[in-house]
Symmetry: C2
Subunit: 489 residues, 2 copies
């Protein structure tokens, strides 16, 4: 080994890096403060793309030069969800305070598999607060994960372990057994298909149950499907209820689903990706009644708690079952009674990941700083804004609501006055209206299909939106609608 | 809806938040600069625990007060992996520059499912650079994920889809089929058990193949196991090779495994969680020869590329197969040809998560700033340090190496002079030596079991370590060993 002094990735000049950091921080604070003055979205320019691309950088570049490229080519071309008029898909807005918490978390770089360290206390405490807010007992199990898809997958995986009726960890689904069947509604988010596939259940054993006019799972249809599967020798094991569907914000009758699951011996998993957070609002928590009755619940703090990505969460009523579904202890993780690894790897033992970052810090610091009542009021504010937008749409002859507004999602379309147009023509017209609206940089709703028809979809999980933003949306849709309709005639 | 002005999570006073941010940044830069002066690890005090705990915070608290609690109760009690003498488990160190990148990423709060945005260009570019560094073709598929467990799981899930011989997405593992069998060595990390369980394969269909004296999978034993499974009517589908085992840093003969997989029509997945990164070092890349021949490869940038958590990566040689294993397009994600969602959700379509954060930024900025050659030199430096430590151990009569040092992992124990002690007594003695060392705050190795015996395990994925740190480790182990041995006699 040479006697040359070791290299490191620490800066040669700490003060230079510090100064750059201060510049970055100033820029980002300005960026967030002034977000309203910029377009919601704009496509990256070819010049920006060229700055991002390039051959493998084998040699170093000054930190400041790399940051200059970030400022020129990356920062101006965001997804758009930090903007007050972004209502596409379901994305939280992020917060300036959580951005600072994320810097602290990255600097500490904690590995939160377990270990006797502050980060584990922080995650445990954050989970306890979330259990209380969502009506779960303090003794329930929980885990912060990347997002809703993983949180939901872990819930269904726990259900599979608990209700298979055989040793799923040893045999998988490959020993001789009655086929396990999973139930969800036709409105359940696509994670349920991914989970059924990944867990080896298969889409052939995923029943998509019909919904009623308000897009809620039909309990009678669920009962009938369970009975049919039992008659065919299959084994129903889990029902997935939804609090806040992605298309329309509908919430299944969770109390009815709980009764069916009790009668049938099934696990009730609830996907509350954004909707579960309505429980934080005293004025609106009855919209998700029955949430606390679930065996497992998934939700995302990066959606309706407005925190930055990624921060999903799964809660499991019976913590012992959650551990039993996942825990294992290889020799290199054997607890030694004292020191940093005194105990079991409590977080790694209830999920997939062993290396886990410190996402709990942004949750803990944000709840401490803003207070849970503030989140509850903002969630209520978004629900009121959806109601306000629906009323504005109702009052306009050329706008048509396409689904009941159950919570914070509004699906509607532009319908020109004059001769009645075919459904396909209205689909094409509204697609063009949506694209013009997005491309103008004024607002970004997204789209979906309601009853087979193209809908402009506004999902409000945005703490920066104001009433005036929805007024502008209405007037812009009318203006684009009229312009496109004129072209189309 | 009331006419009261809307609330927001933005600060009432941006300048106050900005000032706090600058204070945080200064503190974190100092913290990282001075990390060497602090204990590697210390247990959180009861007072710290009390500050972290507490009833649900319903009301707001000033941002500065929350930060004061962070400084008092969280920052002083880290996992320890930022410290130059942390060599426990396999954890990267983090870097000051990546901390700044993480602040930028959190501020932008991009949702990287796909979308026409800078963040998607950044992830695509970062993946292309990683493909080149690891010997994968540019047309390969890739995805950044939370960590190695998920990256490995996705690799095996893709293998299952590609090699099942039936429609796994439709039928899962529940239709009539020959049992799918997965092969790994007895030294493969515990993720493989989790993956076999989660994917419905079952541990009964996971073969743990014996290793040779250098802890590498025995190809003859693998061939025999495959033949036995075929004879029993089962269907071998995937072999997991390892580049850098968790216990000793051994790398399987990947060329031999590739030949067996070719002959048998099996998928070769390689777990290169840390070891794959040795490919960045020209001086050491022959240690992981054959890496580029894998059908899929998993590795962690938060391990031996020193980046903060979480940054895992999976590469799949055949991008079309990767897509075919996972892609689906619900109505609310249907591409509309223009605007932010012009294209498919290219990243969501090759993994589990739909909501994905901007972890690509820290990868892209770190490669640009440091240059890949620098990472290669640091990886080589860690390998040289392991060799240096092994030589120091070899030279000490009271220290015994317990496994060959194949890369950056050193397993050893203290053996007192004088009468020979039983293995159990040496296990107890070395456990106590390790705990005293950890509790002293001087160094944090971890432990494992080698040939049934307790080993002090030093895994070097640390850009802050210097030769002198290993000298100190040797002298401290000797001192603790002698002290404990005296007590035990």
């Amino acid at each position: 080994m040479s006697d040359a002094p070791e290299e490191t990735l620490d800066p040669a000049d700490w003060e230079e890096l510090r100064a750059l950091g201060h510049r970055m921080l100033d820029d980002m604070v300005d960026y967030l403060r002034d977000v309203r003055d910029r377009p919601v979205w704009q496509p990256p320019t070819p010049a920006a793309h060229a700055l991002i691309a390039g051959p493998l950088p084998r040699d170093p570049s000054p930190a400041g030069a790399v940051y200059d490229d970030f400022r020129a080519a990356i920062l101006p071309f965001p997804t758009g969800n930090t903007h007050p008029r972004f209502w596409g898909w379901v994305m939280g807005t992020g917060t300036p305070f959580a951005m600072l918490a994320d810097m602290l978390a990255s600097g500490m770089n904690a590995h939160v598999a377990g270990y006797d360290q502050a980060a584990s206390h922080v995650e445990r405490q954050a989970l306890d607060w979330l259990k209380e807010l969502l009506g779960f007992p303090l003794g329930a199990g929980g885990l912060l994960v990347g997002g809703g898809s993983m949180a939901n997958l872990l819930g269904v995986a726990t259900a599979r372990h608990a209700r298979a009726g055989f040793d799923i960890r040893a045999n998988g689904l490959q020993a001789d057994h009655p086929a396990l069947v999973l139930y969800a509604s036709t409105e359940t988010h696509s994670w349920v298909q991914k989970a059924a596939e990944l867990l080896g259940i298969g889409t052939a054993n995923l029943r998509r149950i019909a919904v009623d006019a308000e897009f809620r799972m039909d309990p009678a249809a669920l009962r009938a499907a369970i009975a049919a599967d039992r008659a065919a020798g299959r084994r129903p094991f889990c029902v997935v209820g939804t609090a806040g569907t992605v298309n329309t914000g509908a919430t299944d009758d969770l109390v009815a689903l709980r009764e069916i699951c009790d009668a049938e011996g099934l696990w009730l998993h609830v996907d509350g990706a954004f909707g579960a957070l309505a429980a934080l609002s005293p004025a609106h928590r009855d919209r998700v009644a029955g949430l606390g009755g679930a065996d497992s619940l998934a939700f995302d703090l990066h959606k309706w708690m407005y925190l930055p990505f990624e921060a999903g969460c799964v809660l499991v009523r019976d913590a012992a079952v959650q551990r039993a579904a996942f825990a294992l202890t290889p020799s290199y993780l054997r607890p030694v009674g004292r020191g940093p690894a005194a105990g079991p790897m409590e977080f790694a033992d209830v999920g997939v990941d062993l290396s886990r970052g410190f996402r709990a810090l942004r949750v803990w610091m944000s709840l401490r700083h803003h207070g849970s009542d503030t989140f509850g009021r903002l969630i209520g504010q978004n629900i009121e804004q959806a109601r306000y937008l629906a009323a504005r749409i109702d009052a306009e002859q050329e706008l048509e609501l396409l689904a009941p507004v159950a919570m914070n999602v509004v699906c509607f379309r532009y319908v020109p006055t004059g001769p009645t147009r075919a459904g396909d023509a209205l689909d094409a017209l509204n697609t063009e209206v949506l694209l013009r609206l997005q491309e103008s940089g004024v607002a970004v709703p997204s789209s979906t299909s309601i009853g087979g028809r193209f809908a402009i979809r506004v999902a409000i999980t945005n703490h920066r939106s104001r009433r005036a933003d929805f007024d502008l949306l209405v007037s812009e849709v009318l203006a684009h609608g009229r312009a496109v309709a004129r072209l189309a005639t």
